[in-house]
Assembly symmetry: none
Homo-oligomer: 145 residues x 4
């Protein structure tokens, strides 16, 4: 595998292709304007967000991670919420997801956030078999209104 | 029941007693310094957080809700993360929890956050029987690292 | 709270009362002969098992833990299976369960077992709220045939 | 399908290939020394463990089962813990897993263990659809420390 680095303003094309693949997985739609605004915040426009991009040896984007660093009530240090994680289907089986998770943990720590958390579908076996190795399942489920 | 309003700087005594009860439920400990800093942020010191306090007819604190409003990648509007919700044992059975949830939804909307989400233990039947009424369960579980 | 120590041959009366309370919780029945044989193995008659007894200040039994140390395929060191854990209802609320878990971890380590695992009903909120603090939930469920 | 029999000292090559495939599924690593020691215990070197090997018509290993027979507190007879079960991807769809489970039940009975239990990831739909046929799910989840 190539490298993982912070998302940069010039990554729009690569990031957008991965983002579209990610949204398709969730059968979700996000408007172009929102996608563009999210990219800009992730690539440097907002201190509360950061994006990571995994690149193959040829420098093409093969994975993304979108993170939010937000305050929490249990600590004076913030938490890092990993909101989106995606590896291109053609790049799977090479531990890109694991490398992204490890890079998230490191980047979050650099930003003062000792804890990273994320949500995953209870039935997403492929993702959870990785998450069970790199992270820890909790007893918590997610509600919304 | 009395009323629900935003947490104010003068609510420290009431809030602290409820916060301690909440932490005891989770068998957790948070330092005095962090508790104080969290209270100050929730009661006006940080735009990204807000607290709600439920009061009985005599004006005593009987419930709290601590919320974080943070950016999200799926929308240009933020989300509201309900991090802590607690009703004093002596005040249970009078829909204080439901009233707090409804007030959270309203306050979050006023702050531009159309979506409120929270975590609850999969096995917490008492809480979930309320959450299933006011909110919606999702298929998501929580991981951390 | 008093103390926690290894089960001894003279503890039969105390252990039996706790064991009966434990079995009643699971609506289970175990014959007298088996209960007696289990006690003898736990109190020194079988290297593969050990029992712990929690005592109050007056020296009365208020909690038990029954453990099996068995080989595992993933390591050359054995694992410790915590098969039974029980605190007398009258002694609850004083962290006896937590103290027993910590003593199990220590005793298992002394017997060469770096890992302790146990089963709990998915819906047993009271137990899990403790287990979530002292241990870690996993993604595993239990099957039998 | 060919046959299922107890693991023998001459099965090292076949067993090791299956074991590696199994560990890769769990993204786990076990040292060579431990793998070798485990094989030796499973193939006759330890009464508390037994291994089963499924062979195709040409006598090649296509599936393994690693079992631990350990004492239990609820009975004077031991229980059989099925720790590892694996069928080579190329051999799936021919009921090798089911045949292994049935052979485990029979072998455990011969060794005095009337009950066989095992753990599986809650989200492993492929495995559970088989386990629900041959065995019974319980309400138990697994914790560790």
């Amino acid at each position: 595998m190539g490298t993982i680095r912070l998302l940069e303003p010039g990554d729009w094309e690569d990031w957008r292709a991965l983002w579209d693949g990610y949204l398709a997985f969730y059968r979700a739609e996000v408007s172009d304007a929102t996608s563009r605004a999210t990219f800009e915040r992730l690539s440097g426009g907002d201190d509360a967000l950061f994006g990571l991009l995994a690149l193959d040896d040829a420098g093409r984007g093969i994975g993304l991670a979108n993170c939010v660093v937000h305050p929490t009530t249990w600590s004076r240090r913030p938490s890092c919420y990993l909101e989106d994680l995606f590896v291109a289907p053609s790049a799977r089986g090479h531990d890109v997801g694991r490398a992204l998770l490890e890079a998230i943990k490191e980047t979050a720590g650099q930003r003062g956030a000792p804890r990273v958390y994320w949500h995953t579908q209870a039935y997403n076996g492929r993702a959870r078999s990785l998450y069970d190795q790199v992270g820890r399942p909790t007893s918590f489920v997610v509600y919304e209104m």
